[in-house]
Symmetry: C2
Subunit: 147 residues, 2 copies
DNA sequence: AAGTGTTACTATCAATTTGAAACGAACAAT
DNA sequence: ATTGTTCGTTTCAAATTGATAGTAACACTT
């Protein structure tokens, strides 16, 4: 999961995927956003093997997306809370969900509503500068020269 | 990679990750958006083992994100083009990139500019209905009952 | 006091996946 | 005839995954 030199890869996608480029990590983040905090909550929600869960939680914690908090001294018990970086992952989750809704949308699906307006949330990615939806206008990629 | 019953999982994130929930698939989609179409282009760009590349391209093709097109009869040569579903994945890529830029942004990074205005693209996810950025307003999750 | 339950793991090990390296098939070019 | 290109497959070792069971440290119940 940790590729050799992803830390200085010029592609921010590759850098991100080096940390969370697997299904379990992303589903853990999803559940963390849904309010789960404890080992057994994640385990039961995901049906993940405890060995894997331990490792994923450790990686996400090391990488600063989750933080451990001791909520009981005797016996020592930790829970996992989203950090600011972890909370910033929510837009990624929503865009993944938006794709799934569009292209794998059969049957019953979880829905999200704005608590104030009561309207269903329809997530779209836009360019904050122009306001245009991502992908609707021609763009130019600039690769940094490597020296 | 293909979990048991992800096809009728009520979570659109889980459904999506069942198809593209690994690093290579997402990087292939990234490169496809950058214009790569051929086996060897992907292989060289990613440094991926050909065995894996074959399998990933096959999955992405089966799942309708890429399509094979024969560009030479003798010898038979195929290239891989993004389908509409594959192009719709671009917002996910941009949000992953946005996270990486924010939280793993040291050193040189690839940049994207709007070809018309010349401004750098800053991707954000918003609720199309309220216009608010995702995560800035309280929301309510509704799980479908399973019957 | 003994037994049961809860929580957060670790240990063990088989099965699967990954990935490196070499090879192949079908040609084109020199 | 030889070399190069493209798109793979074959083979096999190494790493990862995941299922199952066990453990440690308690609280709670009887």
């Amino acid at each position: 999961m940790d590729n050799k030199n992803t830390g200085n890869d010029p592609c921010p996608i590759a850098r991100t995927l080096a940390l969370v480029g697997d299904t379990w990590s992303i589903l853990i983040l999803r559940d963390a956003h849904a309010g789960l905090t404890r080992f057994d909550q994640f385990r039961k929600s995901l049906g993940i093997a405890p060995t894997i869960l331990t490792r994923r939680l450790a990686t996400l914690t090391e990488e600063g997306l989750l933080e451990k908090r001791r909520y009981s001294e005797h016996p020592p018990r930790e829970e996992y809370l989203l950090t600011a970086a972890g909370r910033d992952f929510l837009p990624v989750l929503f865009m993944i969900a938006a794709w799934g809704r569009q292209h794998r949308g059969g049957g019953k699906l979880v829905q999200f509503f704005d608590a104030e307006t009561g309207t269903e949330i329809k997530a779209v990615a836009v360019d904050e500068v122009t306001g245009a939806k991502i992908g609707t206008r021609p763009m130019r990629m600039v690769t940094p020269d490597e020296n």
